[in-house]
C-alpha cells in the first residue's frame, strides 16, 4: 500500500523536492553572504551594543539586501502550495477520474487506504516544510536583527515552528475539500481561498488575543517605543490619548487641527511649528500645547519575549484544526461514492 501511495505521488514529490532544492541553492549562498556582511560591516557588533546608533550601517545593509523582500510572498505561499498540489488531489482526483472504484474495491479497506496515503503525503510535505522553515529562519536572521520585528505579522509567519503547522493544516484542508468537491481543479482553487481565509482571519483577528496585550502610556514628545526590546516588540496599535484617556487620534501625535482648536498660541504659530529647532528658553508652542492638554502616547503591544509562546500557541491551533479536518475526512471518505 505504501508503494501505491508513493507511486501515485512520486512525480509531485519529485517536483516538490526540486523546488525545495532550488530554494536551498538560492538561500544558502545569499544567506552566507548576508550574514558575512552583517558581521564584517560591524553592524552585528553595533546592534548588540546598548545605546549605539547603527543607522548608517543599518541603511547600508538594507540597501544591499532589502531586494530579497520579493521572497516573502513565496515563503508565505509555500504551505498552501503543499495543500493545493498534495492535499486537494488526494481524493478529488480519484473521484474525478473514477479510479476510486478501483482503489476502494481492492483488498485494502478504505480507512487503511486513506491513512496510508495521508501518512505518505503528510510525511513528505513535513520533510519539505521543516527544511524550508529551518532554512528561512536561519537565512532571515540578519534581516530580523537589523530592525524588523520577527513578531510582526508577515514575518512571524515565516519563522520558527508555525510554517510547519501551516503546511500540515494546508494538506489536510486540501484533502478535506477534495472529499466535498470531488473535482481536482475546483478543489485546488477552493483550497487556496479557504487557506488564505483561515490564515488571514487568525492573523488579523485572533493572534493578538493569544495573551492579554500590554499597554504602555508615555509622553508624546520624548518616546522611542516600548521599553526593553523596543523594535522587536509587536506593536498592535498606537494611539494618542488625552488626559481623560480618550483616544484623540490614531498613531503617534494628534493632528494639527485638533491642537490648533485648543491652543491659540499654536494656531498662531502655523501648522509647521519649528519645535525641532526651537530656540532654547523659548517655549515650543507644540510642546506647550501637548503639555497643556495632557496628551500622551498609548501603545498596545505584545512584548518580544512572548514570541515563542505565540509561536507554539499558533502551532497548536493549526495542528488542532488539521486534526479536526483529518477526523472529518475519515468520516466523509467512508460515505463517499
Amino acid at each position: 500500500m505504501i508503494w501505491v501511495a508513493w507511486r501515485q505521488h512520486r512525480t509531485l514529490m519529485l517536483w516538490g523536492a526540486v523546488a525545495v532544492a532550488a530554494m536551498t541553492l538560492f538561500l544558502i549562498p545569499t544567506g552566507i553572504g548576508m550574514s558575512h556582511f552583517f558581521t564584517s560591516s560591524g553592524l552585528a557588533r553595533c546592534l548588540s551594543t546598548v545605546g549605539a546608533d547603527c543607522g548608517d550601517l543599518g541603511q547600508q545593509f538594507d540597501s544591499r539586501y532589502s531586494g530579497y523582500a520579493f521572497l516573502v510572498p513565496l515563503f508565505l505561499m509555500a504551505p498552501v502550495l503543499f495543500g493545493m498540489f498534495f492535499g486537494a488531489p488526494l481524493i478529488a482526483r480519484e473521484m474525478d477520474g473514477g479510479t476510486y472504484r478501483l482503489a476502494w474495491t481492492q483488498g485494502v479497506s478504505r480507512p487503511r487506504w486513506l491513512s496510508t496515503k495521508l501518512a505518505v503525503v503528510i510525511g513528505s510535505a513535513l520533510v519539505g516544510a521543516i527544511a524550508l522553515a529551518l532554512l528561512v529562519t536561519w537565512w532571515s536572521r540578519p534581516l530580523i536583527t537589523n530592525g524588523a520585528s520577527r513578531f510582526r505579522p508577515g514575518i512571524f509567519d515565516l519563522r520558527g515552528v508555525v510554517p510547519i503547522a501551516y503546511t500540515i493544516f494546508a494538506v489536510m484542508l486540501g484533502v478535506a475539500i477534495g472529499t466535498l468537491i470531488k473535482k481536482t481543479l475546483p478543489a485546488v482553487g477552493v483550497t487556496l481561498v479557504a487557506f488564505a481565509g483561515v490564515r488571514v482571519g487568525i492573523e488579523l483577528f485572533l493572534r493578538q488575543h493569544y495573551m492579554t496585550a500590554k499597554t504602555l502610556t508615555q509622553s508624546l514628545i520624548s518616546s522611542k517605543g516600548p521599553p526593553g526590546a523596543g523594535a522587536a516588540d509587536w506593536i498592535i496599535r498606537e494611539n494618542t490619548i488625552d488626559r481623560l484617556g480618550h483616544i484623540v487620534s490614531s498613531g503617534r501625535g494628534p493632528d494639527f487641527g485638533y491642537l490648533a482648536a485648543r491652543c491659540p498660541a499654536l494656531a498662531a504659530a502655523g501648522p509647521f511649528p519649528k519645535f525641532a529647532t526651537a530656540v532654547p528658553g523659548q517655549a515650543d508652542p507644540f510642546a506647550a500645547c501637548v503639555q497643556h492638554l495632557g496628551l500622551r502616547d498609548m501603545i498596545v503591544y505584545q512584548p518580544a519575549s512572548r514570541f515563542w509562546t505565540f509561536q507554539w500557541i499558533e502551532f497548536g491551533i493549526f495542528i488542532a484544526l488539521a486534526i479536526g479536518l483529518a477526523v472529518f475526512t475519515v468520516w466523509r471518505t467512508k460515505r463517499l461514492s
Partner: protein, 299 residues
Amino acid sequence: MNALEASGLSKRYGKHWALENCAFELPSGSIAGLVGPNGAGKTTLLHIAVGLLEPTRGSLRILGERPGAAQVLPRVGFVAQDTPLYKGFKVSEMISFGAHMNVGFDMEFARSRIARLEIPPDQKAGSLSGGQRAQVGLALALAKRPEILLLDEPLASLDPLARREFLQTLMEGVADTGVTVVLSSHLLTDLERVCDHMMVLARGRFRLIGDTADIIKTHKVLIGPKERVGSISGVSNVLHQSTTDRQATLLVRTDGPIIDPSWMVNQVSLEDVVLAYLDSRSTSADAVPDLHAVEEVAR
C-alpha cells in the same frame, strides 16, 4: 450458500429511486447476467454489492457479509464500468498495484495473462485500447482470486472481436474455480452464451430472476384461435399477446403442461422472454409475483 442475497433493497438519489424494494438470492457458483436498459439500476446494484454505495433502505449481503467490510473486500473482484485504471501507470505497475493492494494476489497469473494477450507491460494504462483496458481490468480482478467477480458493463466499449476474446478470457479464468460471476449488460445477446442465470432489471425493479434453463422451460409461445384467449390450463401468466383476425400469439409463463389441443405450443428464446419482461406493458404489479415464482423454480 448464496453469493448474493438482498431484501427490501432500495436506493434513492434525490427524488428518484434507482432501486426499489429488490429482493433476490444468487446461489454460489452461478454465472449471472444482470440485464436491463441503461439507467435500470445495474450500476447502483453492483456498487452497493461492492460497498461503494450504501443502500437507502433494505440490505444486501455478499458472501454472507456486509459489503465493503474489511474481511469481505479481499474475496470480491470488481471491474467498474469503463474499467478505471491509473492512466500514468504502466501495465506492469498496474499489476504491482494489484499485488500491493491484495494479500493473495497472483502476480504470475496476471503477468502471464497480459503476456498471452500481447499487451506490452511497459505501455501506459492511459494509452491502452478499450479492449486492452478491459482485459487488464479483468486480469487484475481474476488475479485477486476472488470468490465472486462482479463486472459492470465490461463489454460495452468493445468491438465484437474483443467481446469474444474478453468472454473467452473470462470463461477460462473462472473455469473450475467455482467463482460466482455477475456480468451486467444492456444487451442480452452478449450474455446469453455464457450465463446460467438471468437477473432482469428495469426502472429499479427486478422483472425476472432465475436459472436460464428454467426460464426457457417455463415460458412458451402459444398459437391458437383468438376466441380461446382467456383462462388456459397450465398458463399462470400471459406476458405478451398479439392477435390477428383469427389467430392469437401468446408468450406465457406456464405452471404445468399445456394440454389444450387448440393451442400449438412452441419453444421460446431467452431473448424473447427477457424482452417481454423488459417491455413497459408488463407492469411491475404482475412482474413482482412472477419474480418469486421463477425464483422458486430456480431453487
